[in-house]
C-alpha cells in the first residue's frame, strides 16, 4: 500500500513539506494542506474503519464534514475519539487509527486550553465560497462591520475542488484577491478553520475555531487549541454550499465507493487520483466533470452509468472524446469486493424493474444522485423548508428575520448564480442591519464566469432495488453507513405503522450519528415517502438542530473548568480555617467550615467535642456567610411590616427581633434577625443560601407592588464579617476584647445590640443565640475580620475556646428545636406547622402570606407539624429523609406515611441520638411510639416536643 496516487503537479498541497504520520500502525507521509483522508488516499489507503454493528469495511465517502463513515481515533498528540478523517488536517507526528464505530476518551486531563470570545458585527457571512466571498465583499464595500467564517483552512469553498475560471483566469486568483481585499478592511474579520455550528435567535451564531489542531505537537502551549466564537450579528448570510447526495444500492458501503464531487475535490484540491479503474454512477450532470477530469489526469474511467434515459449532450460528447462509455438508462445494482470494491454490477432499470446484470471491474465507484443544499443553519433559526421536486432536495422556503441564504445553499448550483445570489443576500443584509447601500454601484461588479453547458434535469433516484434480495446476506442497501441502517430497516419501520420521519429516524437510528444524517436524511425521507405513497414535501424532513458538526465538551467548557467551573466564595477568615485543619462544606457557592477535626478525629467525635465546648465553656464560629440586607428610607419599617409575619415597626433602635417571611401561599421562605439601626434604617439577615433570593423577593415587592414606599435595599453580606461567640464563658471572652462595653445582663440584655470597639476595631455586637446558650454575635468590617477573630481566639484560650463549624451549629440549634429553612421546611410548611404561631402577628391588618393562613387546607388539624423524635435505642441514628410510619411491621405497600425525618444527630448534651421530623398531627402525638424504617428494620421512636434541651431557657443569660 505504498504506491502513490499523488499527481506530480497541481492542487493546494505544499509538496516542499513532508509530514510523517502513522495510520493503523503504518508509517506514511503526506503534505501540508492535506487532510488525513487525502493523505490516506494519496497512499492508496481506502479502507479506514469498520462499521459499528456489522463490522463491514468502510472507507472515505466524502471530502468534508458530511462524511458518514471514515471515523478515526487520534492517538497523538492527544487522544480524541470519533473524528472524521476528512476533517482532520494532517500534521507531522499525527498518530491515528480507524475505528470500529466507537472511540476511546482520554483517561488523562486534556492539557490544552480552550477559550471563548464574543464578537459583534453588522453582517456575519458563513462560508467563504463564491457566494459567501461575494456577500462579504459587498457588505465590506458598503462599510459594514463584517465577520466571515469558513470551516476550511483556506477560503474558496467549492472553487478549491474544481478547475473553475473567473474573469478568464483561475478562480482561485479571484479568491486570493477577494481575501486580500477583505483582510485589508479595518472592520472585517476573516476566520478560517471556523465552523458555525449553531444559529439561534436574533442573529446569534456560535462558531468553533480550530486554532492549533493543525500544528500537532508544535502547537504553542499558550495558545487556545479551540475557541468558541459567540457572534451577535445584525444579519447572517448563510452561504454554506451543498452536500452531494448518494444513491443507495446493494453493497454501496464498500471502500472505494465515493461521492463524485468528493473525488473531484481530492483530484483538484489535493492532487490525488482516487483510483486507477473508475466507474461513475449518476442521475445528475455534475458527476460527468469527475469522469472527464479523472480521465484527463491519467485515471481510466471504465464507464459512466447514467440512470437517466438520455445523457446531457455536452457531457456525452466530452466522454466520447475520451473514449468513456456512457450507459444510459442503467443503474448500479450491487458491488463485489472484500476490503475494497472490485466490481460494479450494472443493469437496465425501467419502470422499477431491473434487467439482467453485467459486471464492470473497478477499484473506485463514484456516485452522484444530485445535491442537497446545506440548509442546517437556516433551518436551526426556524426557517421553513420547501421541497424542490426537480432537485429532489429541501431548499429554504422563505425569508426569515435577520438571516438570508446565498449560493448553492439556496439550490442555485451555477457559479454565476452563486455570485449573484451572494451579492443580493448582502444587499438584503445591509438593509436589514439598517446600513446604507449608497456606496455600492447600481450594477454589481461581479467576476465573469465561463459559459456553462445547458443542464439536464436531475433524475431523483433515492435507491435502486436489490435484484437479488434473497441472497442470504441481509439487506446491504445502506442508507446510514455509520448506523449500519438500511432500506430494509426503513421498510420495517413503515411496515410497523410509522408515518413520521421523526419516528422512523428514532426507530432506525438513521441520522443520529456523528454526521447527523447529512448524506442520509433526505434519502430516508424519500424512501419513507415512496413506501407510504405520499409526497416527500408533505412528509418533510427531520429537524435540524445544533451543533452542525460535533463540538468537544472541552471547547464548550472553555476556561470554566476546575476551580474556575463555578465561582467560589470564601470569608475573610477562610485562610485561618484552612490553617487550622477545617473540613469545608459547600453552601451555595460558599465554602463554610464544616468541622475542625483534631488528631485524626472523624466528623462525629469532632462535633461532639465542639458541641460540648459550646455548652460547657465557650466556642466561636465564622458566620460571615449569613445574608445581610441594609434597608433604608422613611418607609423601611412599613416595608418590613408588610413582608415579615411579625411586627417590625415597633422594634426600638438598639434592639433585635427574630422574624419569618412567608410566600403568598403562607409557606415559610426564610427567617433571620432584624436589627433597628435608626428610625429609618434596619439590617436584616437571611439564611446563607437564600441571601440573593430574599433580596430579589424584597425588591420585587418594592418595585412592582409598592413603588410608593420610600425605601432602598442593598446587600451588605460581603461587607460585614460575623462571628458568633457561644457558651457560658462567652461573656468573659467578650469583656476581655471589648473593654468599653458593659457586658452585664442588665446593661446588655438578650435581643439587643451595641456598637463598641472589639480588639480595637469598630464593631456591632448583638446578643442573640442560635444555640440556647449565652451568646453574642460580633460583626466587624470584613477587612478587620481576621484580626478580630484572632483576638477573640487568643482571649478565649484560657477557657479552651473552640472553633466550630456548620455541623455543630446544626446540632446545637436542633437540640433547641430551631428549624433551618430548607432543611425543616420545603415550601409546604407554615410557621404554625413549625410550632411558631407566636411569630405571626395578630395585630397587623395584612402582610404577605396572612390571608393564606385561613385557607381550609392550612387549618387542617392533620397537617405535618415539627416534633422531636427520640429513638428508643439512644445509639441508633435515624436517617435524614427517613419516613415515619405508624405500623411496627411493614405490610404490603402502600404503607401510610406520616411524615419524614428532617434532621438527625448525636447529642453530647443529651447523651443520645435525636431527630426532628415533620409528622402528621405531630403535636397531638407527643408521647406516642412511631417507627422509622432503617435498612431492614423498623426503629421505634418516641415523639416529643421539638425542644429537647433546656426547655425553660435557663441558659440564655449565662
Amino acid at each position: 500500500m505504498t504506491s502513490s496516487f499523488r499527481l506530480p503537479t497541481g492542487g493546494r498541497v505544499d509538496r516542499s513539506t513532508e509530514l510523517a504520520f502513522t495510520f493503523n500502525g503504518e508509517a506514511l507521509t503526506g503534505h501540508r494542506g492535506d487532510t488525513l483522508a487525502s493523505a490516506l488516499l494519496a497512499n492508496g489507503v481506502h479502507q479506514v474503519a469498520t462499521s459499528v454493528r456489522l463490522g463491514r469495511p468502510r472507507g472515505i465517502v466524502a471530502a468534508g464534514a458530511e462524511d458518514p463513515s471514515a471515523l478515526v481515533q487520534v492517538e497523538e498528540p492527544f487522544p480524541e475519539p470519533m473524528l472524521t478523517a476528512t476533517t482532520v488536517e494532517l500534521h507531522d507526528g499525527l498518530v491515528a487509527r480507524g475505528l470500529p464505530g466507537q472511540g476511546r476518551l482520554a483517561d488523562e486531563p486534556d492539557p490544552a486550553r480552550y477559550d471563548a470570545v464574543h464578537a459583534h458585527c453588522d453582517v456575519l457571512v458563513v462560508g467563504a465560497g463564491p457566494a459567501g466571498l461575494t456577500a462579504a465583499l459587498t457588505a465590506a464595500r458598503a462599510g459594514a462591520r463584517v465577520v466571515l467564517v469558513d470551516e476550511q483552512r483556506e477560503a474558496g469553498g467549492s472553487l478549491l475542488g474544481a478547475p473553475e475560471r473567473l474573469d478568464g483566469a483561475p478562480a482561485l486568483d479571484w479568491v486570493a484577491a477577494a481575501v486580500d481585499e477583505l483582510t485589508a478592511h479595518r472592520d472585517v474579520r476573516v476566520l478560517q478553520r471556523t465552523t458555525a455550528f449553531g444559529h439561534y435567535d436574533d442573529g446569534f451564531v456560535l462558531a468553533l475555531e480550530k486554532r492549533t489542531d493543525h500544528l500537532g505537537a508544535q502547537a504553542p502551549a499558550n495558545r487556545a487549541r479551540q475557541r468558541v466564537w459567540r457572534i451577535r450579528a445584525g444579519h447572517v448570510v448563510v452561504a454554506t454550499g451543498a452536500h452531494e447526495r448518494p444513491i443507495v444500492f446493494a453493497g454501496n458501503d464498500r471502500p472505494g465507493i465515493m461521492l463524485a464531487g468528493a473525488a473531484r475535490t481530492y483530484l483538484n484540491r489535493y492532487a490525488v487520483l482516487p483510483g486507477s479503474e473508475v466507474v461513475v454512477f449518476t442521475s445528475d450532470d455534475a458527476a460527468y466533470a469527475a469522469a472527464v477530469e479523472i480521465a484527463d489526469a491519467g485515471g481510466h474511467v471504465a464507464a459512466v452509468i447514467e440512470a437517466r434515459a438520455k445523457a446531457p449532450a455536452h457531457w456525452a460528447e466530452e466522454c466520447a472524446r475520451r473514449g468513456i462509455e456512457v450507459r444510459t438508462g442503467h443503474v448500479v445494482t450491487g458491488t463485489s469486493g472484500t476490503d475494497r470494491v472490485t466490481r460494479a454490477h450494472v443493469a437496465m432499470l425501467a419502470d422499477g424493474v431491473v434487467g439482467p446484470r453485467t459486471g464492470i471491474a473497478c477499484d473506485t465507484l463514484l456516485v452522484s444522485g444530485g445535491w442537497n443544499p446545506t440548509v442546517h443553519l437556516y433551518s436551526q433559526a426556524r426557517g421553513r423548508l420547501r421541497y424542490d421536486a426537480a432537485l429532489g432536495a429541501f431548499v429554504p422556503g422563505e425569508e426569515i428575520d435577520r438571516a438570508s441564504v446565498a449560493g448553492s445553499a439556496t439550490g442555485e448550483f451555477t457559479l454565476a448564480g452563486a455570485l449573484r445570489s451572494g451579492h443580493d443576500a448582502a444587499r438584503r443584509a445591509l438593509a436589514s442591519a439598517g446600513l446604507s447601500t449608497e456606496g455600492l454601484p447600481a450594477e454589481p461588479e461581479l467576476p465573469v464566469t465561463d459559459p456553462e453547458p445547458p443542464a439536464q434535469p436531475t433524475r431523483v433516484l433515492w435507491s435502486v432495488p436489490d435484484p437479488d434480495p434473497d441472497a442470504g446476506h441481509g439487506d446491504q442497501r445502506f442508507v446510514d453507513l455509520q448506523r449500519d441502517a438500511t432500506v430494509g430497516d426503513i421498510l420495517r419501520a413503515t411496515g410497523a405503522g410509522m408515518r413520521s420521519v421523526e419516528h422512523v429516524k428514532r426507530y432506525t437510528t438513521i441520522g443520529t450519528a456523528h454526521d447527523q444524517g447529512k448524506t442520509s436524511g433526505v434519502i430516508a425521507s424519500g424512501i419513507v415517502a415512496e413506501a407510504l405513497g405520499v409526497d416527500v414535501g408533505e412528509l418533510g424532513t427531520t429537524t435540524f438542530r445544533p451543533p452542525y458538526t460535533p463540538v468537544a465538551f472541552a471547547a464548550l467548557a472553555g476556561r470554566d473548568r476546575g476551580v474556575l467551573h463555578d465561582p467560589v466564595r470564601v470569608t475573610a477568615v477562610h485562610d485561618w480555617h484552612v490553617m487550622h485543619g477545617a473540613e469545608f462544606e459547600n453552601v451555595g457557592q460558599w465554602k463554610r467550615p464544616w468541622y475542625y477535626p483534631q488528631d485524626g478525629e472523624d466528623l462525629e467525635t469532632a462535633v461532639l467535642r465542639e458541641c460540648a465546648a459550646a455548652r460547657e465553656s465557650v466556642a466561636m464560629m465564622d458566620g460571615s456567610t449569613l445574608g445581610k440586607i441594609d434597608v433604608q428610607g422613611p418607609d423601611a419599617a412599613e416595608l418590613l411590616d408588610r413582608l415579615y409575619t411579625n411586627l417590625m415597626s415597633s422594634l426600638k433602635v438598639g434592639s433585635v427581633r427574630y422574624g419569618v417571611m412567608c410566600g403568598l401561599d403562607g409557606m415559610v421562605i426564610d427567617d433571620g434577625t432584624v436589627i433597628r439601626v435608626a428610625d429609618d434604617r434596619f439590617l436584616v439577615t437571611t439564611t446563607t443560601g437564600n441571601a440573593a433570593k430574599i433580596l430579589d423577593w424584597m425588591e420585587e415587592w418594592v418595585q412592582t407592588e409598592w413603588p410608593e414606599l420610600r425605601v432602598h435595599l442593598a446587600s451588605v453580606t460581603e461587607q460585614w464579617a460575623t462571628i458568633p461567640l457561644v457558651g457560658p464563658r462567652s461573656r468573659d471572652v467578650l469583656a476581655a476584647v471589648a473593654p468599653d462595653l458593659d457586658v452585664s445582663n442588665d446593661a446588655f440584655p438578650f435581643m439587643t445590640w451595641r456598637d463598641t470597639g472589639v480588639a480595637g476595631v469598630p464593631a456591632r455586637v448583638c446578643r442573640i443565640s442560635f444555640s440556647g446558650e449565652l451568646a453574642y454575635e460580633v460583626n466587624v468590617p470584613a477587612w478587620d475580620a481576621l484580626a478580630v477573630w484572632e483576638a477573640i481566639f487568643a482571649a478565649g484560650r484560657q477557657w479552651g475556646i473552640t472553633p466550630y463549624g456548620t455541623e455543630t451549629m446544626h446540632v446545637l440549634r436542633a437540640e433547641k428545636g430551631y428549624p433551618i429553612i430548607g432543611q425543616e421546611t420545603d415550601g409546604t410548611v407554615t410557621p404554625q406547622d413549625l410550632g411558631m404561631a407566636w411569630v405571626v402577628s395578630k395585630k397587623k391588618d395584612d402582610f404577605v402570606g396572612k390571608r393564606s393562613f385561613s385557607r381550609p387546607e392550612n387549618l387542617r388539624p392533620d397537617r405535618k407539624q415539627l416534633v422531636g423524635l427520640l429513638p428508643v435505642d439512644g445509639d441508633v441514628l435515624l436517617p435524614e429523609g427517613g419516613q415515619v410510619v405508624e405500623v411496627d411491621a411493614l405490610s404490603q405497600p402502600p404503607v401510610p406515611m406520616l411524615g419524614h425525618v428532617t434532621s438527625s444527630y448525636r447529642s453530647a448534651a443529651l447523651g443520645r441520638t435525636f431527630a426532628l421530623a415533620l409528622v402528621r398531627s405531630g403535636r397531638e402525638r407527643v408521647g406516642q411510639t412511631l417507627y422509622v424504617p432503617l435498612e431492614d428494620e423498623l426503629v421505634p421512636v418516641t415523639v416529643t416536643d421539638s425542644v429537647l434541651f433546656d426547655k425553660e431557657g435557663s441558659r440564655r443569660d449565662g
Binding site: D201, D202, P707, R851, R855
Partner: protein, 92 residues
C-alpha cells in the same frame, strides 16, 4: 439566544433576565374580605394564552429593575417593552 430590550438598558441577552409571570395582576388590597376561592385564584392561577401576553421581567444581571413586556407566546417574539407603572401598549 434572544435579545430582550430592557427599557432602562437597551437590548441585552436573555440570560441576563428572569421571568416574573403575568403582568398587571395587582396584589389585592383588603384581601381579608376575599373568599377562599377568590384568594386562591389570585395566588395560584394565571392566564396562559397562545399569542400576545403581557408579562413581568426583571433585568437580574443588569440594572435589576422590573419591567413589563408583551410577548407572543407562540413565537417568543417580544412585541413591546414598557416600564413599571406605564400602561400596557396596544400591539398588533
Amino acid at each position: 439566544m434572544q435579545l430582550i430590550a430592557c427599557p432602562h438598558c437597551g437590548p441585552r441577552e436573555e440570560t441576563e433576565f428572569h421571568y416574573g409571570g403575568q403582568a398587571h395582576v395587582a396584589y389585592p388590597a383588603g384581601n381579608a374580605t376575599l373568599s377562599d376561592e377568590e384568594w386562591g385564584q389570585f395566588v395560584f392561577f394565571r392566564d396562559n394564552p397562545k399569542g400576545p401576553f403581557a408579562e413581568r421581567w426583571v433585568h437580574s444581571a443588569g440594572c435589576r429593575r422590573w419591567f413589563n413586556a408583551v410577548r407572543d407566546t407562540a413565537t417568543h417574539q417580544i412585541l413591546a417593552v414598557y416600564r413599571q407603572g406605564e400602561p400596557k401598549p396596544v400591539v398588533a
